[in-house]
Symmetry: C2
Subunit: 271 residues, 2 copies
């Protein structure tokens, strides 16, 4: 069972990339479980024809974790991909991380945490104990960073590396950096910048995904690009990503950059 | 002592707005304390000539909270504005919220949590118990949402409203929604969209701040717009915001929107 996580700054394209990656892997014949671990709870929406499935945390708050069956929380979407949304903490009150772990434990108890590939889509803006839970507790073993060339998304990716590096010393966590996915904003020299960033954190850029309007068009049709525009170049980029993820054996302990070095790197590519 | 907080999605412009607001208030003769509560710890950078001041949390981890003096954590910047950065949790391990509260308690113990206006600049991507701490524990009493017309920043602002509404029922928190600041991305009809959003959450847009390259130019010069380009229209927008914040008496309990209603609202303004 391959257990991969996509981490990155909010809005960078984790869910779009996750849903398309899951769809592509499913088309390749694999049994996929995608678990949204972002309070936005919309990770699986494009696999579910635009539907926002109920979240595990909402159900736990409504009924208690003993009154949840597998059909309440696991939904079959495009290509048979199984979809789960952890949901978020009670606004202003709870801990997102505890909700995420509770979700995993419920899925395990229901025998639902099984698949050829489990894909965790996780918010990466704050690398507190809460959002690091999938890595800390050994669920997410191969972490892919999703970033553009924008300094703010590189900053978030770099922070996630600090967490991975720290957690790599713990027995239970077993998580490693598997690669960097550039989800482009179509900036000049963006690919080179993200490639260099990836090298310097002791990893590599595994796929460059262009910014393409076909993503918006597919979204308006409530589908992934894989489903809505399977002949497009964008769909091919997601299929390439899927192949590379399945073939990838390179797992690293990252070497995060100092803030000043990250800034100088980003500025080199602006002039 | 006026205690205000700026909350909003990461990257939306909280720190830029906070630093310029503090600078403008200071120019009006007030004693200002700005506390950065974002793990990015760069809230006060433009008031400190580009310097990233040490964070309280880093110092606590290095020396313990008993060995911290006021000069270690409170720095005087532009116009005498006093600057503090709470810092972030240990990546992958700690709780951002506990760090924020520890910072406030240390400042209180040092007699440093005093000013005409205390301005908290707080990450609003995740409205977990951690980042809601300034509101929960009664430090932040007037909350200003910083948003653009982009759905993702409105979504974050709406979530913060859920937290404010929930916490308004608790005795200790005393926090209210004081207004919405539109930090523009120069989208068509953006002002109208944010005005309508503000009305529908039972508040109002208190200031429209254009997107202006003078912000980048000032930043490259390591200064706020108030300092670097005090005759610009952008500086005047920040001064207007400062005046309105000091005159504002309207404090509301917000009425957050349902996701579907927020999306329909945003889509109305796209066509
Ligand atoms: N490669 C891309 N090209 C064009 N638009 C994209 C691309 N990737 C993501 N987007 C858009 O960016 C927005 C945010 O993406 P999303 O996957 O929801 O981010 P996240 O899950 O990281 O918060 C979505 O509306 C999506 O349409
Ligand atoms: N009104 C504006 N016009 C142009 N650029 C802006 C404006 N406000 C913010 N920015 C830019 O947006 C970036 C993010 O702003 P920042 O204040 O750091 O966001 P936050 O504190 O919410 O994470 C900064 O680099 C800043 O230069
Ligand atoms: S650990 Fe993280 S998610 Fe949990 S309350 Fe603290 S800041 Fe929020
Ligand atoms: Mg997402
Ligand atoms: Mg900031």
């Amino acid at each position: 069972m391959k257990q991969i996580a996509l981490y990155g700054k909010g809005g960078i394209g984790k869910s779009t990339t996750s849903a398309n990656l899951s769809a592509a892997l499913s088309d390749q014949g694999l049994d996929i479980l995608q678990i949204g671990c972002d309070p936005k709870r919309d990770s699986t929406r494009m696999l579910m024809n635009g539907r926002l499935i109920p979240t595990v945390m909402d159900l736990v708050r409504e009924r208690g974790d003993r009154n949840i069956s597998i059909e309440d929380v696991v939904f079959r979407g495009y290509g048979g991909v199984r979809c789960v949304e952890a949901g978020g903490p009670e606004p202003g009150v709870g801990c997102a991380g505890r909700g995420i772990i509770a979700t995993f434990q419920i899925l395990e108890k229901l025998g639902a945490l099984q698949a050829d590939v489990v894909l965790y889509d996780v918010l990466g803006d704050v690398v507190c104990g809460g959002f690091a839970m999938p890595m800390r507790e050994g669920y997410a073993q191969e972490v892919y960073l999703v970033t553009s060339g924008e300094l703010m998304s590189l900053y978030a990716a770099n922070n996630i590396c600090k967490a991975i590096a720290r957690l790599s010393t713990r027995a239970r966590s077993r998580c490693r950096l598997a690669g960097v996915i550039c989800n482009a904003k179509n900036m000049p020299r963006e690919k080179e910048l993200v490639e260099e960033f990836a090298e310097r954190i002791n990893s590599r850029m595994i796929q460059f995904i262009p910014r393409d309007r076909i993503v918006q068009v597919s979204e308006l049709n409530k589908k992934t690009v894989i489903e809505f525009a399977s002949d497009s170049a964008q769909a091919e980029a997601y299929r390439n990503l899927a192949r590379k993820v399945m073939e990838n054996t390179r797992l690293d302990i990252p070497t995060p950059l100092e803030i000043e070095d990250l800034e100088s790197l980003a500025y080199e590519y602006i002039k």
